[in-house]
Symmetry: C6
Subunit: 255 residues, 6 copies
């Protein structure tokens, strides 16, 4: 963790764009929230999160004209707001964005630090405190949906993975309210099931799902039922795989 | 049933998002209506249902500007309304939704419980009583239309199937008005035909179709004619399969 | 015919949705017009027909805002009108509709009988006399364009086929004005050519085309020329198949 | 020609929809202009031609709301105008139209003769003198672009082909101003080259192209140069085929 | 050249539509500019050029309503302007246009010479001096993007190719300002490299590129550097092919 | 570098369009900024950069009508502004643009130097100081996304590659603040890893990434950690390739 903090801090000092790479639920969003607190002075750095997707147009980022009773009026998009007032603009799952969304980042992510707004005919210089951060999950990267080299090579990258068993048990304990021993077993369970995922059968379970299961246990739901709902059925639709996961659950948690 | 109620109640207490998995007509919608009564205090929890489909845009969920005589005016979408005022927001057949619809759920379904509204430039914190529920039918899941891991792993899942024969007969009797023996035979018929569906020849018939057939019988339509209209022709377009179903109907109902 | 009337009547009494299945020109539309007369009291039940197609959006069914001099004004679509005021809403060739059109029917076709109008933020309860009817031609059903199980299992189905030779001759005689013997020969001709269609070479000719040919004969067009225009060239573009059909015409009509 | 006139006249008397089938330039449009003169009384029947294409929406046919200074105002499309005031509405190359354009014709082309206008919420009954005519070229018919059976079986069909050599020579002579012998040779040339087209190498040349070539000759362009410009280069882009056509031209015209 | 002028003049006298066929940079646009001067009387014929492309809609040609402070106002498109006031309307690379753009040309390019404007509900008769000209490059013609027979057979065609070496050298000399011997060598170079293009390795270089290279030489750029920039790198991205072209350049120009 | 400056200067003197070809981060944008300073007189030539992408419409370049309180008002796009007032218009990654964007450049890039604005019905003559520049990366050129010959042959091309090791070391030293020896090692590292890219395993790293890594080192981040973040993880997602790159980093930088 210390490494990630140091790398991000150095990148921020030079205002280099940062790419957070890692699987679902490995803590990328939380890390960024932490960094916005740590890097801020009297108060955290402003943090604007944009969930990227196929339908997100460049207008959604940059802004658009809105028709009002007094004719068209320009409304800044979240990227324009961050470029103008400073702070971190976070493009979550950037690989899902349309190309036009990605391409408008180019002049912001090199030495120019400029955001051209074609529809206004202006070019904005980024606020000294503006920084761009993006995330993506390399396991999803296919030949159809990937970052262009000309985009990826504009970012300093930080890799994320699930926390080690000890730290994960501690997280589960604190977030769910179960006792330490139960938390240990959930962390062990997560590690065991993720071994399956190395063979691409499934992905996860994420720390989040382990917390969900533990929290249900803390509410009084029987352990097996909680694991069924929050782990087995969330992780797979395949009955064979589900049976295999249940065996691991029995072995680790049960008895 | 007790298990499903307990799991849902525990999930609701922690406001964990819930995914209802199961075939058509297995009672997912009715279960949710029941839970909204059970979990509500003086009155049922508000329940907003959104039938997902290819054309449902994120604006349909979140809201949009509408042009009035006084210029543009913002109208909340059903998701925004539920996030603001509390209650259950139910995304029926979520796998049919476009990616942008699904992606806006991400920050609502983790520890943040936030709904960013890009077009307003605001981020709404969910009401303490807001809960998100989604459903889908895993039998339809294909490589094209499935939930992304990063989405599915945000939900606690509950699995649904057709009720057992005894309970289904009781449901048919109460809903259609036929006598107990006829209801028993319809329930048996449903179970027999569903065995065919295990081989992927057909799906169903759902409890709903069995009630339809029984209700027509109660109105005076001959039994064979009612089964033809409400079961055979509803379940298949293939003449060979239809003949096989008619044989089962003759064997179970007829004589 | 008696069976179809009885089934439809029973379905209407319980307000069950009905699906009319059958080939082009087998009388589905006329049957529905007849039922709206028969089921109505002092006057026929209102019957709203919607020809489904790829471009028909859910707004075309439900309604939309229209910009007027006084700002936006909501205009009910035909489905909303039928839901509000009662009567039969008929979705012709429903399988051609886009998914969003079909999906909005779901809550109308189960125990809820509700039409949610997302853009108005309201949910309409169907008028007690509202009934939904749809049609489709199973011969066109392909893997791309078919009804989802979750849709089809919401309907009671009635199957249509061409009338038998005797009844068809009578229809031809009445509708075209030719004498009984000529009408008989046209009905025989229809049956003979349809045998070809069993092998998927062609479809039809429908009763409608036989009436067209007969009507032209009644106007004085020579028999061969009328069959060429209204049957052979309407039924196929393939010269070989056309030659085969002409032989049947010569054999049945000619001499 | 007499047959086509008689068939069309009979169809018009019963207001049956007519489909004109035939290759490019075989005179379908001219035939229809002639019939509108012949069938009209004091003046020709109004004739509205709509060139169908992928982008033609049903609104282009039926009408649309137009925003004016006084809010939205409805403007009738050409089909609505013809349905209201009578006359022939001609859908040229109907197979190119989008499905929604074709589907709105259904209730106009059976016993109902109705045009539903969803956006106005009205259903227009066709004027007694309204007739629908469509054309298409069966040689283009592919599995992707063809008329649905449910559409095609609503029309009486008339087949067109190039005129025989004698008549074509006469047409060329009259339309271009060349002498009779030259016209004869052009007609012979057309027939010879069309033999190639039977093998699907090329289509045509149409009578129109023969007239073009003859007209250029009449203006003083050398015969070979006129044939090169108006026939060879118009009929093919392939150099081998062009060489073959030039040989035929030399043999028939030259020397 | 005399032939092309004569053919075009004859076509213009009868107002026959003309198709200019030929590779990039073979002088089609310049030829048309020349003809508009030659055919005009006191002043050149008006010449409207429209660069066709996938996004060009029929509205871009015909016109559209524009919303002003006084409501919608119709604005003529360039085709409508030419049809109304006369002159040549030139559709450059017509094969790139969408079908709806092409189809609206049909009634303009046969004996009718009419432009129907569906949105206005009017049909314009073409001005006596209106002529339609289109161009395309047959080398690009593929099974996806080609002119429909029903379109191509409406045009008289004129074929273009690069000028012969002598004429090309003269053009290069006049347009670039280099001396006659250098111009000769550039023309020879063009011919040699085009031989490669016969094998489909590359296309060109066009006369335009030869002029570019010569013009840079005239400005003082070394000959090899000018050929590299204006010929080799413009004609290919492939390093092997580039090496081959450089060898030809060395052989012809160098030493 | 001298060559590129001379070629560009000559092209600019004749106002020939220029195409900058080369890999990501090879300095194309900086070169153009330099040329705008060098070619300008009292002040740099105006330079308008447009990042091309799939969604960029011709309206984004040329301009559009905007609805204001006083009705529609025309707003010039960036291309129109450059054409009107002079200066360099730079289309970055032109191969990503839609065809309609590219096609409107045609009349600007030949002897005509005209920009037709269909929606205004005007044709603008380019300002004497207007020059068009485009860039693309030939390594991305595929059969789907490439420049049409008719476009590419309108440009004089200049090829870019990474700077040689000595110059690159100097650039790294100046831009990052590391000492000369470290800069030398980073330049050597870049060259070594790029050798891998010759086999198409990866692309880059660009000079920009080397500067990023060096800048992080200058901020105090350990050398290995800086290379991991700014080089290894930015250049590949593949664990095997990453391991190979780390070995090179150890060999060159480490010890």
């Amino acid at each position: 963790m210390a490494d990630e903090v140091a790398t991000f801090t150095a990148a921020y000092q030079s205002r280099l764009p940062v790419l957070l790479k890692g699987p679902t639920g490995s803590g990328k969003t939380r890390f960024l929230e932490y960094m916005s607190y740590r890097l801020g002075a009297a108060q955290p750095l402003p943090l604007v999160t944009i969930a990227c997707n196929d339908e997100l147009s460049s207008s959604d980022l940059v802004g658009r004209y809105l028709l009002t009773g007094q004719g068209s009026q320009w409304i800044d998009g979240p990227l324009t707001a961050a470029v103008t007032h400073g702070g971190i603009c976070y493009l979550d799952e950037v690989v899902e964005a349309r190309k036009d969304t990605v391409v408008i980042l180019h002049s912001l992510t090199d030495h120019r630090r400029l955001l051209p707004i074609a529809k206004l005919g202006v070019v904005l210089e980024a606020h000294p405190d503006f920084q761009l951060v993006a995330s993506y999950n390399p396991r999803y990267q296919s030949s159809i949906k990937n970052l262009k080299h000309s985009t990826q090579q504009r970012f300093v990258a930080i890799e994320f993975d699930y926390p080690d068993t000890g730290r994960e048990a501690e997280i589960i304990r604190v977030e769910s309210g179960v006792d330490g021993e139960t938390a240990d077993r959930f962390a062990e369970l997560g590690a065991k099931i993720r071994n399956l995922s190395l063979n691409n059968v499934i992905e996860g379970p994420s720390t989040r799902l382990l917390i969900y299961a533990a929290r249900m246990v803390a509410t009084g739901v029987p352990l097996g039922q909680a694991c069924e709902a929050a782990i087995t059925l969330s992780v797979t639709d395949d009955r064979g795989t589900a049976a295999g996961i249940r065996e691991i659950i029995d072995a680790v948690m049960g008895g």
